[in-house]
Amino acid sequence: MSETKASIWFRLLWMFLKVNILSPSGPASVGFLYEEAVGKVMSEERFVEAVGFSNVLPGSEALKLAMFVGFSAGGIPGVFAALLGAILPPTVLMLIVAALLQRFQHEDWLTGFVAGMSPAVAALIVVVAWELFRAGSRRKIDRRVALIALLSAIAFWFEFPSPLVLLGAGILGVILFGKRGFK
């Protein structure tokens, strides 16, 4: 390693600050990050591996990706440099906006704005649900996936607690998909 350790940490911090100021959401940041990191602080292979793992493990995927990249570039301290760079921009922005908005809470125009935003937010959630569904089952949507979707729809309809439904769906996945063996 030609660079000193401290300068790598600084570079990581700066890189994630930049990526998180420029990208509106977690998934969108993957593209930016690819350009910033691959070939400079890590190889393409390790990046692909990092993206894969961030999608599988629980928690916000943008953060996990950041920490993976940080780890391969600078070890454990690299993880924290990346984490800090990734959470600083949204934290500062959100606190400012939240403070401002609470003040306008009862303004007429804000009520209208939120009313207009609701259908669009609902539409956004539908789009994300669809993308998740497509991305989640890499193969064709087969009967097992449809069965899990159907069962969870019934469970939600009868207002079962959602964490339990999700846990159940995961366990069902282990049972149903387990039979096809390794692939």
Binding site: S60, G112, A120, V121, I125, A129, L132, S137, G168
Partner: protein
């Protein structure tokens, strides 16, 4: 103090059970709306976090935390959201090569995914319904936004435009 603990627990739970920021919206809705925040506040939070730059899941968490308990609430929500992935990553990097062969983990996630998608559809419907604008204006905004986003229009532009439409048509 109790509220802070409750926030901490909710965000810990949500971040352990969802694999990505956007996927956490459905679960979070069930955990907080009606208990800690109102429907309107939640819509505001989702809209804003998709508009502002940076990880939307974190912004959503902080906005809700802030709404419930001010600045301390925002930080508690933030910490609870970053704790599970941080601990997991630190653990996983150590046993990385072993975990890759664990088929049950990817099977678990594959089973989880359709359920999360279904949950999000339910939440989308509730948000639409309780947003109050279920007249033709509301449906119009919803359908147009849906088409726009399926054609890859940037979500933040769509949400802002929909909000502006709301100022003119929905008060």
């Amino acid at each position: 103090m109790n509220q802070l603990l409750e926030l901490f627990w909710i965000f810990l739970k949500v971040n352990l059970l969802s694999t990505s920021g956007p996927a956490s919206v459905g679960l979070l809705y069930h955990e907080v709306v009606g208990k800690l925040v109102t429907e309107g506040q939640f819509v505001q939070a989702v809209g804003l976090s998709s508009v502002l730059p940076g990880s939307d899941a974190l912004q959503l968490a902080m906005y809700i935390g802030y709404g419930v308990a001010g600045i301390p609430g925002g930080f508690v929500a933030l910490i609870a959201s970053i704790l599970p992935p941080t601990v997991i990553i630190l653990g996983v990097t150590v046993v990385l090569h072993r975990l890759r062969r664990e088929a049950w983990l990817s099977n678990f996630i594959e089973g989880l995914t359709p359920a999360i998608s279904v949950l999000m559809l339910f939440v989308a419907w509730k948000i639409f319904q309780k947003g109050g604008s279920t007249g033709w204006e509301g449906w119009g905004i919803g359908v147009v936004s849906l088409i726009a986003m399926f054609m890859n229009a940037p979500a933040r532009i769509v949400v802002i435009v929909a909000g502006l439409m709301g100022i003119f048509f929905l008060r």
